[in-house]
């Protein structure tokens, strides 16, 4: 957990003690992992999580509260951990290994390895907490969720101290801690207590980030849970189709990505030390646009395919039971096609200019999805989609997107690729919100006239790899689909040039040739097109 440790040489004695405290907490977890049997698990778990949190808290207080309020980036590029040094690579390897074990070798963590399927090892250590919250033993996901929540809370506290002069940063961080602790961690556990038929459902996790929301096992579990389950399905659909577009229109995608989302929450807190590592190169931006939109197209097709098979029916032993829902497979596929056509036509009619050269890529994506709908309809049998067994396709999708991309690469590679590589290159939700942010949103980062000095602090601190300076030095507002609105570019700007704002849609994108401050006649002459 002591992710942010700088070079040990330059830190104070108090910080060394804090690091040691945190490491002892971590050591308990490691010992449990290696099957050391702790006598009183509840005590040792509390001790472990407590020491980790305490270490982070003491460390942060000594690092920031001993100095005046202000930007605290001294030495970021000198520290091994935050500049792809030995510590950075080492941490990357450890995190990646952890994710691989978590996703693919849960037995190594001790899941159900004891007598009568009881847990052993690390997972067993978390049994007391899990029993306290929901009356069942822990799973590897409970262990992961607990550590994840502790990380966001402890490093969130660190981040709040680091930006204690900046209310935007503080509120945003309190918000991600709240949503992680409440919505992702506690509420699902309590929902289980109230209705044990309900599947795990993090209410704030919206499709398509929540890629398994519409998978058949999940839908079945909801349907079996009665009215509350159906209400949750409806809520899932409404959050994607209604709530999300409205909030994104008003505030930009930041309302989700840097205020609510758990992936974003971890990136903004535990990942803060690595935000400078994202590539700002034009080539990275090109890769990003291909990759993230390909994932989006893929996840739309997969979800439609999955729901389509669900609506057809399911196998009970050797007999296929035809489904009988109010929504038939045909109607579903046709309405998806019509909906996408309406969106596509609307954009081409009203927003063609803003798309520019990207219109072609949009058209390609649209064509692929529509084509896939036909393929799903005509080739989809009771067992297969795209001539592949639907079960293996689903698990391949979950494997590629859910495990490898968001977990192993997305978080494991924090110290190498920066804290938001999943959000930037892989998250289908970020793709949809970003598209809307670019097209229909009041949000932008305003550039303050001619005050930019091209220093590059903004670009350097952008975790999404946006070359913010390229816009600021032209006096141009930043309206980029990938911007998650974390506000750190604005915070670190030494000349007060950047401000996150929700304002009218008009004149939001404003490239200029001559910057404010120069000859008014010249500016008029050159800027009129």
């Amino acid at each position: 957990m002591s992710l942010a440790s700088p070079d040990a040489l330059e830190i104070s004695t108090k910080q060394k003690v804090a690091l040691a405290t945190g490491l002892i907490g971590l050591l308990i977890l490691i010992l449990a992992f290696f099957n050391v049997n702790f006598p009183n698990r509840a005590v040792f778990l509390a001790l472990s999580l407590g020491l980790i949190t305490l270490g982070t808290v003491i460390y942060s207080r000594d690092a920031y509260l001993t100095k005046l309020e202000g930007i605290k980036n001294d030495g970021v590029w000198f520290k091994s951990i935050s500049s792809r040094g030995v510590l950075g690579w080492g941490l990357g390897v450890v995190l990646t290994a952890f994710y691989i074990v978590l996703y693919f070798f849960e037995e190594l963590l001790g899941a159900g390895q004891g007598a009568n399927g009881a847990n052993t090892g690390l997972i067993a250590l978390f049994d007391p907490l899990s029993n306290l919250l929901s009356g069942r033993n822990a799973s590897q996901w409970f262990v992961y969720g607990t550590l994840y929540t502790v990380a966001i809370a402890a490093f969130g506290y660190k981040f709040i101290l680091k930006y204690r002069h900046n209310k935007y940063q503080q509120l945003r961080t309190i918000s991600v801690i709240f949503f992680q602790l409440g919505f992702a961690y506690l509420i699902p556990e309590f929902m289980h207590v109230m209705n044990s038929d309900l599947p795990y459902y993090d209410l704030k996790s919206v499709w398509p980030l929540n890629y398994y929301l519409f998978q058949d096992y999940h839908l079945n579990e909801f349907l079996n849970a009665g009215n509350i389950g159906i209400a949750l399905i409806i809520f899932g659909v409404v959050s994607t189709l209604v709530i999300t577009p409205i909030l994104t229109y008003k505030y930009g995608k930041r309302w989700y990505c840097s205020w609510v989302c758990g992936c974003g929450g971890l990136a903004e807190t535990a990942g803060d030390s690595f935000r400078n590592l994202s590539s700002k190169k034009m080539s990275a931006w090109k890769l990003e646009r291909w990759l993230i939109h390909a994932v989006l197209v893929f996840s739309v097709i997969m979800t439609v395919a999955v729901v389509s098979t669900f609506l057809k029916g399911h196998w009970e032993g050797d007999t296929f039971v035809k489904a009988n829902y109010w929504l038939s497979n045909e109607v579903f596929l046709i309405s998806i096609g019509l909906f996408l056509t309406a969106v596509f036509t609307g954009i081409m009619l009203f927003k063609r200019n803003e798309l520019g050269k990207d219109a072609r890529y949009g058209a390609i994506g649209y064509a692929i999805v529509i084509l896939s709908l036909f393929v799903i309809y005509f080739t989809g049998t009771n067992e297969q989609i795209f001539f592949i067994k639907s079960d293996s396709l689903k698990s391949a999708y979950g494997f590629a997107i859910g495990s490898v991309f968001s977990g192993v690469i997305g978080t494991g590679f924090y110290p190498i690729l920066g804290s938001r590589s999943w959000c930037r290159f892989g998250c289908p939700m970020a793709a949809i919100l970003g598209f809307q942010q670019r097209m229909f949103s009041k949000f932008r980062i305003t550039t303050n006239g001619g005050q930019c000095i091209s220093c590059g602090n903004c670009s350097n601190s952008c975790e999404m790899g946006i070359d913010v300076r390229a816009y600021a030095q032209k006096g141009e507002n930043i309206v980029r689909s990938s911007c998650v609105g974390c506000g750190v570019c604005s915070a670190v700007c030494p000349r007060g040039v950047l401000k996150l704002e929700n304002d009218s849609m008009e004149g939001r994108i404003n490239p200029t040739e001559i910057l404010l401050g120069n000859d008014v006649d010249l500016m008029d002459l050159v800027n009129q097109k």
Partner: protein
């Protein structure tokens, strides 16, 4: 094809090159001996402080220059032969030009102090200066103390830099208060306190008498004129302002004073030779501006204007309302319009300061007609566009103070102080 040669790859030279490319197909060559690519000089401090690496201070990726057909030549121009339109390089070789733009920037001032050329004594202007500092002051074991001479913008930046590596700093300022030739009293004094809060040993009203050397010719201490106090140190930073970097021109027939003399079209006395940025000196000052403006923004604006002239649209350098900005350790500073250190004839200042001692504003207005003349703002961000408009519209001071919320540019959820400012303003009116 006409060949435009630009000496200097700073903000002025690069801006004029970019705009010439936008307007024409001319051949463009930028000559520099400092670095291969354009970087932001104002960001040098952040490299030493570890916020960024050198490549992050380069606003354009290397492919940009080729794509825009801007040739970059590394070389030091020794002489300019204006008859044959030829540049001679110190490394040997020549370059022909059709039009020449000199944008060579500044160099740190030295005022003939004894010991000013010792090892360990340096200014902070160029990339080379930064490399020297990295050698002289890598940490507080090699550099046990540094003394900075000269209380201006570069001096306080250098103090912040050294402070970030826990190197003790003594800061000699000739004036009775920090930068009070430019800043009004209340602001200057607030910055004095802020500097001291950062544990920087600020010495006001102190001059450098001499720098003493050790047996290796390295600076080992300085002596203060006023007190004869000797302070041991390993690095001496000379930051008493800058002056045009034009030594290589003195031999040529280009007319110079402190800088290269130019008219409003940025032309020198020699046809087809122009000068912009820090090294240019206006024959007659423009408005209340100084004849030499060593500021990032003015360099850029001269580049924007000159590109028009070069490309067949003769355009005077006619800057709009004055603006500038800086950051003093943790306190950001912006200024719009004119606020002089002391109100001039028919001028008055309204000053407001927050009780936390990190935020204040000073508004200058004309006492004869209440016209708003300018504002300095510390710790509160304000909108350039709004003040530019108010200055053009010649708003009066009441209007400006009453409409300050419109100009606020602080991040969302920040505490606003406009009400407090307004009530202070109203009270100050009643007492007059």
């Amino acid at each position: 094809m006409e060949h435009i040669v630009i000496i200097g790859n700073g903000i002025s030279g690069v801006t004029v090159a970019r705009h010439i490319r936008k307007l024409s197909d001319k051949k463009i060559t930028i000559v520099s001996t400092e670095t291969d690519y354009f970087f932001s000089r104002t960001a040098l401090m952040y490299i030493y402080m570890g916020h960024m690496k050198f490549e992050h201070t380069q606003p354009y990726e290397p492919y940009f220059w080729k794509k825009n057909r801007i040739e970059l030549k590394k070389g030091y121009v020794k002489t300019i032969e204006s008859q044959s339109k030829t540049l001679h390089f110190a490394e040997g070789g020549t370059l022909q030009y059709d039009k020449l733009i000199i944008a060579t920037g500044s160099k740190p001032n030295k005022f003939g102090w004894p010991g000013q050329d010792l090892n360990g004594v340096q200014g902070l202007y160029s990339k080379q200066d930064l490399d020297t500092l990295e050698q002289n002051a890598p940490n507080n074991k090699v550099c046990k103390r540094a003394v900075i001479v000269g209380g201006g913008l570069i001096g306080i930046e250098l103090a912040e830099m050294l402070n970030s590596r826990n190197i003790p700093v003594t800061f000699l300022v000739r004036e009775s208060s920090f930068w009070n030739g430019v800043l009004p009293e209340g602001e200057s004094e607030m910055i004095n306190r802020h500097i001291k809060n950062h544990h920087i040993d600020l010495r006001l009203g102190m001059n450098l008498k001499e720098i003493k050397a050790d047996e290796n010719g390295h600076a080992k201490s300085i002596v203060i004129t006023e007190t004869e106090e000797e302070i041991e140190c390993n690095v001496v930073g000379l930051t008493a302002g800058v002056s045009p970097n034009i030594n290589f021109i003195k031999e040529s027939n280009i007319e110079t004073n402190r800088g290269i003399l130019v008219n409003r079209h940025l032309e020198t006395n020699i046809k087809d030779i122009f000068a912009i940025g820090d090294c240019a000196e206006q024959r007659e000052a423009i408005g209340q501006r100084r004849p030499i403006e060593a500021v990032w923004y003015t360099g850029r604006m001269m580049g924007e204007a000159l590109a028009q002239t070069i490309c067949g649209n003769p355009t005077e350098y006619k800057p709009g309302h004055w603006f500038n900005s800086a950051k003093f350790l943790d306190i950001e500073y912006q200024t719009y319009g004119w606020v002089f250190a002391k109100p001039r004839e028919n001028e008055a200042h309204f000053h407001w300061k927050h009780e936390d001692d990190t935020k204040c504003i000073t508004v200058c207005y004309d006492t004869s007609n209440n016209k708003f003349l300018g504002i300095n703002t510390f710790g509160i961000r304000m909108r350039h566009e709004v003040f530019d408009r108010w200055l053009t519209e010649e708003r009066d001071v009441d209007y400006v103070i009453n409409n300050l919320p419109e100009a606020n540019f602080d991040p969302e959820f920040y505490t606003h102080f406009e009400k407090d400012i307004l009530s202070t303003y109203n009270q100050s009116l009643q007492t007059i």
